[in-house]
Subunit: 272 residues, 2 copies
């Protein structure tokens, strides 16, 4: 999928919502646990209930790998279900991979070719040759961690190198890599005031923004500092939507929560 | 497994060799491609041929994920085979994971519980709360990237923060985390002169050392600067051993290459 197609979908749906799929068996509605593949059934119901309100889904690979082979099968079924039923939706494998060149090539193959995701999240610590193998795929997108939404973000990401924070070096350096036009970045919503600075370095790139909802970030603040002419944001919400209820009404409640976010997004898009 | 048990195994085998399992279908011996699970058959043969010369095996998860569900099944069969047949061998999931706390917990569950690895590699970029969920597991080990063996290591890892390289901050900061005694670190062999400095910060920790062989590092140099009283090194070799031949003699040739490394290690251990 091209960023142009993603942008068109955002305008059409009046939404830049990404729904995070973090299926934890301990939190799933009890009635689903009696099905053959509770994780897939859960995801499917959430997707069917929210596909007109969200422009992206982001399965978090940890929540599938934790269940071993069965979990990987659920991941495969989930991405296939989205691609077959909602082909205009942007898909993100939240995998945070990154390794030396020949290994990163295998990860790229796993997520772009075998599973057919539109994008994958990667970690920057190993530098250029750990990310470029992902960037080599046309019309696929590599979403690199810049400034994350967790407490540990302040351990290293905000440390100063020559008077400038590490995450800014990460942003700047990555722009020099081959096929850097295929980069997007993770920037946590819990640090909204940082968006203005970030937009000076990557004025047009899409930013994937976790941290709204359970982690306490404000949508209005993020948009104020981070939105571009072409929106340029994918705001993720996982727990607040997918675990809105753990009863038989979970999908309906998820839709209601997603609708609230979409309506706030529509308002922001209309009045900016 | 405890580090004490790992140390005993090293003394007994006169080896601190870790064999990296990076099974690439394009490089596997042709006759294996006709079997039902070529990747597992390849790993099994390599393991059977080298288990008395190596103290650790390190399956690289990318090379399994690239083959989707079938690949994950091969990974599961490989770790189960090692644990059942060679239970004293130390196992490393080379996965380079790391995410916010609740997600890292799921990765820890995947590799320590579901797959029963002794250790897993993690990336430090997201800081404390992204690594501590791994450290919470008793007698399991978390091997954090410090200074890697690739070119991109110089993009960020060696940048100066208050006059000190980022990777040194990573080492120092990690020592303050809960259960930091369960940490080991990845330090590339291609930068042997850095080991002396690193040993000032982590004098006793085990270091996992990639970069010998295909990537050009020297074993003698690494040992000169990095070895401790209790050895404290796991030196990884993958391609030089596992792809020593792609004929029907691949396992025998792998053994010959592993033996060369083990003999050099034995000499170093005897004459230090």
């Amino acid at each position: 999928m091209t960023t142009q197609q993603l942008h068109e979908q955002i305008l059409q749906k009046k939404s830049f919502l990404c729904v995070g799929l973090d299926p934890d068996l301990a939190k799933l509605p009890a009635h689903l646990l009696r099905t053959e593949d509770p994780i897939f059934e859960f995801n499917k119901a959430i997707i069917d209930a929210t596909h007109d309100l969200a422009v992206a889904y982001k399965p978090n690979t940890a929540f599938f790998e934790a269940y071993g082979l069965k979990g990987w099968m659920s991941l495969q079924k989930t991405i296939t279900y989205i691609n077959e039923n909602y082909p205009t939706i942007f898909t993100i494998a939240d995998a945070k991979r990154g390794d030396i060149g020949n290994t990163s090539s295998m990860y790229a193959k796993a997520f772009f070719e075998d599973l057919s995701f539109d994008s994958v999240t990667v970690a920057p610590y190993m530098g250029k040759d750990s990310v470029e193998p992902f960037l080599a795929f046309q019309d696929k997108h590599t979403i690199m961690l810049a400034l994350t939404s967790n407490e540990g973000a302040f351990d290293f990401q905000t440390k100063l190198i020559d008077g400038k924070e590490l995450y800014k070096h990460v942003l700047e350096t990555s722009k020099t890599w081959n096929n850097s036009q295929n980069l997007m970045y993770v920037v946590g919503a819990t640090k909204a005031e940082y968006f203005a600075e970030i937009r000076k370095i990557v004025p047009d790139s899409f930013l994937l923004v976790p941290g709204i909802g359970a982690q306490g970030g404000s949508l209005a603040e993020v948009c104020k500092y981070g939105m571009t002419d072409k929106i340029g944001l994918l705001v993720n919400s996982a727990r607040a939507i997918i675990y809105a209820s753990n009863g038989t009404d979970f999908a309906q409640k998820a839709r209601e929560e997603a609708l609230k976010v979409q309506q706030e997004m529509e308002m922001i898009m209309n009045y900016r």
